[in-house]
Symmetry: C2
């Protein structure tokens, strides 16, 4: 069932931030379905899943977004464009939804989840662990777990990606009509297939060494 | 070279936040080497790699850390314990190091990287894109990309993990002697193999549906 270390390393070395996508290629349905699963199955703190994923297929909307993302061609040219959103707050209602979903999935009575519900309420809603001012940022970090999961999954499936932080979140939130809602945009990821002439595909990867970044204590 | 969508989905469904690790099992050297590569090859904004990974093998140090992580047994019982660190700031020196490393890896003269160096200086060091007060949090989010990459890579290699945010970063930073340095701890991840009697392995996964979390525009 597992893959080999070689397969993993090969895929991670094959991956790069794709600059030019092949506009003619789309992602096969089954492959895209697995990538959607990689988003949904991503781990998050307490299993709160404080995120949402907008898949932008409308060509006109992509054209509108592009000037607010440094006019990067990936916005319009990729096969699938995902805007990663994070919740602005965590309310008691969010905890209640998680608890009831858990009870349903696991066939539990709500009393059996009382300890966990209480922990979540104290730590998150009443901010014993995460201060109110840090909730949005905390959710933002969870979103980046999903981003890492998505890009790694894509590389293993032979799908190219380009993570995009070079965009104006305020403009995106306005164009995506998120301003009055519970979510804000954090990061964008383009997915599809590299163009044959993307010269970035040939460039050597630039990485610091294990000796510089990994320290055994 | 790629894996199938089924293999990916199987691995992601097999993964869970492991509560009880098998203390007798270690991770084979080649598998661990690939997991280290997954950390080093993780994508980061501008390729800055504003992170460091501490692998805590010292049993006494793990015992010291455990009470500051809600006394969770994973801290002492897992095969490999990784503390994910992020840089507190990005200085011009960090940009210079990235540029010179890039020139070396790609056989370029520094003038050929002048445009990119300038962009980085303006956007990050002079904060045109990332405000000074947000640099640490921005680096923190990059660290979570590496976390997502690491956990996904581990699942595919058949290695269990448990992401741990339930710890006191100040206490960890003190015990790991990070306080005066350029890095702070953001998140911890235990890796190894589930104990045969970890009842959490049997619980149904709790996830919101694609209909709730993925929206096509």
């Amino acid at each position: 069932m597992s893959i080999t270390p070689e397969t993993l390393e090969q895929a991670l070395n094959w991956r790069y931030a794709t600059k030019a996508f092949d506009r003619a290629r789309s992602i096969p349905a089954q492959t895209w379905a697995a990538l959607e699963q990689s988003l949904l199955l991503s781990p998050s703190s307490y299993g709160l899943q404080p995120w949402k994923f907008l898949v932008i297929r409308d060509r006109a909307l992509r054209q509108q977004l592009r000037p607010h993302a440094w006019d990067q061609s990936q916005i319009t040219d990729c096969a699938e464009l995902v805007v990663f959103l994070g919740r602005r707050t965590i309310e008691q209602a969010d905890v209640d939804t998680l608890i009831s979903t858990t009870c349903q999935a696991r066939g539990l009575a709500s009393e059996q989840m009382a300890f966990y519900a209480d922990l979540l309420r104290r730590n998150v809603v009443e901010h014993a662990q995460v201060p109110a001012a840090e909730i949005a940022g905390w959710n933002g970090r969870q979103v980046y777990i999903a981003l890492g999961t998505f890009m790694t999954a894509a590389a293993l499936l032979g799908v190219d990606t380009c993570p995009i932080e070079g965009f104006d979140p305020a403009a995106f939130d306005r164009l995506l009509e998120l301003e009055a809602g519970p979510y804000r945009s954090w990061v964008v990821c383009a997915a599809g297939y590299r163009a044959a002439d993307d010269r970035y595909a040939q460039l050597a990867k630039v990485r610091y060494s294990a000796g510089e970044l990994i320290e055994v204590r």
